[in-house]
């Protein structure tokens, strides 16, 4: 990317201002986005460190005591530690269960996001660069798929595929690749007609090299924005499917599964079993969306003052 933006940054300046530094300083201009990024960082850190900072491995049956079931927040567990967020129906410490659930939710969301991005990017670039009939067919398929809501596509797929972490990721990838493909193709079409591409072609560079080393890096900005928003979407979609009982099985308790487990207790006033996992989901999705919003504002040259 740097070789393309270089002429701008070469302007005489006392302090070296790289595009990256400018990007960082613009990003942190928004206080909300800064807070959201910190919250997101904290959430990821908690999820990664879960085994070391929780009093209990909620899926090691030896550590779970049924007598601890449905305790309100702040109660003391049989094993002696305090359950700050209470416990669920089978006696699992909710704080531990949420951190372990975050790990699953985040990995499913990020994995499906990355795979969908890779596939959508390849197909979008192919459409933009091949043109003609290939592009026509690809874009027809993309349009067709986008005419169905992503949630419905994912639901239809899990109805067919069944439960399981691999099947959910597959369903989320199929439900989302088209968004990436459309974004990449749109940007790549604009980039393809720019002078630097012509220059690269005149130098006799191979097609692949032009596409991947010259066009692709310049399509990254919108791709990153779509990527963050779609990842948040994937996480909330997985939680929805798991909540409905058609997503992840009980053996892979993501946040959606935890919320579903607590639903039956909610009507009897034991709110915490559903509410705390729900809040964790909420903070995750909203903070990713806020970060994505700010990224769009910063990366979109049309909005620059």
């Amino acid at each position: 990317m740097s070789d393309v933006i270089a002429p701008e940054t070469a302007a005489p300046a006392a302090k070296v201002e790289t595009p990256f530094r400018r990007f960082v300083s613009e990003f942190f201009e928004s206080r909300i986005a800064t807070v959201a990024l910190c919250v997101l960082g904290l959430i990821i850190l908690l999820a990664v460190l879960a085994p070391w900072i929780t009093p209990q491995n909620p899926y090691d049956l030896a550590q779970v005591d049924v007598l601890d079931g449905r305790l309100p927040p702040g109660s003391e567990a049989f094993a002696g530690y305090t359950m700050w967020l209470g416990s669920d129906g089978s006696g699992r410490d909710l704080y531990s269960a949420i951190l372990y659930g975050l790990r699953i939710s985040l990995s499913v969301g990020v994995a499906s996001g990355i795979i969908a991005l890779a596939i959508g990017m390849a197909i979008g670039l192919l459409a933009a660069y091949a043109g003609g009939r290939t592009e026509n067919i690809i874009m027809r398929v993309v349009d067709l798929q986008l005419s169905f809501p992503a949630a419905l596509v994912a639901l239809m797929l899990v109805a067919i595929l069944g439960k399981g972490i691999d099947k959910i990721i597959l369903a989320l990838v199929v439900a989302q690749w088209a968004y990436y493909a459309r974004t990449v193709r749109g940007t790549a079409l604009v980039e393809r007609n720019k002078e630097y591409v012509e220059a690269a072609q005149c130098l006799g560079l191979s097609r692949l090299r032009v596409v991947f080393r010259h066009i692709l890096p310049n399509c990254l900005a919108p791709l990153i924005v779509v990527g963050t928003v779609q990842t948040a979407h994937a996480i909330s979609l997985e939680a929805t499917l798991s909540f409905l009982g058609v997503g992840l099985p009980q053996t892979e308790p993501s946040l959606g599964v935890l919320i579903a487990n607590g639903f039956e207790y909610m009507l009897s006033g034991r709110y915490w079993i559903s509410v705390f996992p729900g809040l964790a989901l909420l903070f995750t999705v909203v903070s990713i969306n806020l970060v994505g919003d700010q990224l769009r504002d910063v990366l979109n040259p049309r909005l620059k003052k």
Binding site: P149, L152, I160, S236, T240, M266, V275
Partner: protein, 325 residues
């Protein structure tokens, strides 16, 4: 024009055909309903009788042909669980879903447009900023989570509204609906709010953008110059103009309301098609799943077809581009 419609119609048929193949083979290759339906202590003869009764012993392509010829006659197979025709079952549950979707659409417009109007007229007031922040939340909160919170607040804590089922139904124009009785209305309110939330956010944003654009236009300046009151300008001149795109988009979103009703119906135990689908998936009731998916595909293909044709009438460029391709 005719050529365009015929092309689009053929595309639509192709899509329905492809989806029928994918859906049917997908559902039939994965999952084994025999184990779900035959009790564990049944002997081999029982199992074989069940397999023969359900037609599961035939080759899969033969099952598919049976399915297609059945579908063409309006018969998408019998439900394994209820023993009734799957299509009949779905059609039976459809009014409840449509009722919910229409109520949500109504709420979205009734709540979203006034809020968007305010936010557009006074973009700098704190209330407007609050409305916009709320609409961002509306976009990013998962539907099912909001549903849970609505139940917790209004049904459990405050006890104002019931949280499950349809309540008493009455008849309006011969259609059985919850909207006809007080009790039914109180049952509709929470699920409809839940389903409407995303669309309320959408309506707010569309209206606000429309108002902000319209206020700078010549016809507003002219109306002001004529000495009309602000109230009249906003509610007669501006609102009339911005309602066209708002109504169009909200109409287009109707399909997605039907899709999302799966989530809301499951939470509020609303006896519609969506809940039927989830139950059918959990019980491996394949004919119902297949029938639902086919109907929803048909539904969306139909909506898209109508939209395409309407757009091509409104904007001939769409039609020309299609022919050039």
């Amino acid at each position: 024009m005719t050529v365009f419609i015929i092309r689009r119609l053929m595309q639509a048929i192709l899509v329905v055909f492809l989806m029928s193949v994918i859906v049917f083979f997908g559902v039939n290759v994965i999952g084994d309903p025999v184990h779900m339906l035959v009790s564990p202590d049944a002997d081999q003869a029982d199992i074989e009788a069940t397999i023969r009764r359900l037609g599961l012993d035939r080759p899969i392509w033969e099952q598919y042909l049976l399915f297609v010829s059945g579908a063409a006659q309006g018969n998408l197979g019998n439900s394994f669980i209820f023993g009734e025709p799957a299509l009949k079952l779905i059609l039976h549950h459809m009014p409840a879903t449509l009722e919910l979707a229409f109520s949500a659409l109504f709420l979205a417009v009734a709540v979203g447009v006034p809020l968007g109007l305010y936010a557009g007229l006074y973009p700098d007031s704190p209330l407007s900023k609050g409305i916009m922040a709320g609409s961002i939340l509306g976009f990013s909160l998962p539907t099912f989570w909001v549903g849970l919170m609505l139940i917790m607040l209004f049904a459990v804590e405050l006890g104002w509204l019931p949280s499950t089922g349809r309540g008493d139904t009455g008849h309006i124009l011969g259609i059985e609906t919850s909207l006809a009785t007080r009790d039914g209305l109180s049952h509709v309110l929470l699920p409809a709010m839940n389903l409407a939330l995303l669309k309320i956010s959408l309506a707010i944003r569309l209206t606000r953008a429309g108002v902000r654009e319209a206020m700078g236009q010549d016809y507003v300046k002219y109306a002001r110059a004529k000495g009309l009151s602000t109230r009249r300008i906003v509610f007669v001149h501006v609102l009339k103009n911005i309602m066209i795109p708002v109504v169009t988009v909200m109409g287009l979103e109707f399909g997605s309301l039907i899709g999302f009703s799966v989530v809301t119906e499951s939470i509020f135990a609303w006896p519609g098609m969506g809940k039927l689908l989830i139950d059918a998936i959990l019980q491996l009731d394949r004919p119902v799943v297949v029938a639902y998916l086919m109907i929803i595909v048909l539904f969306f293909v139909l909506i898209n077809l109508i939209v395409d044709i309407l757009y091509s009438i409104l904007d001939p460029r769409v039609r020309l581009r299609d022919q050039g391709a």
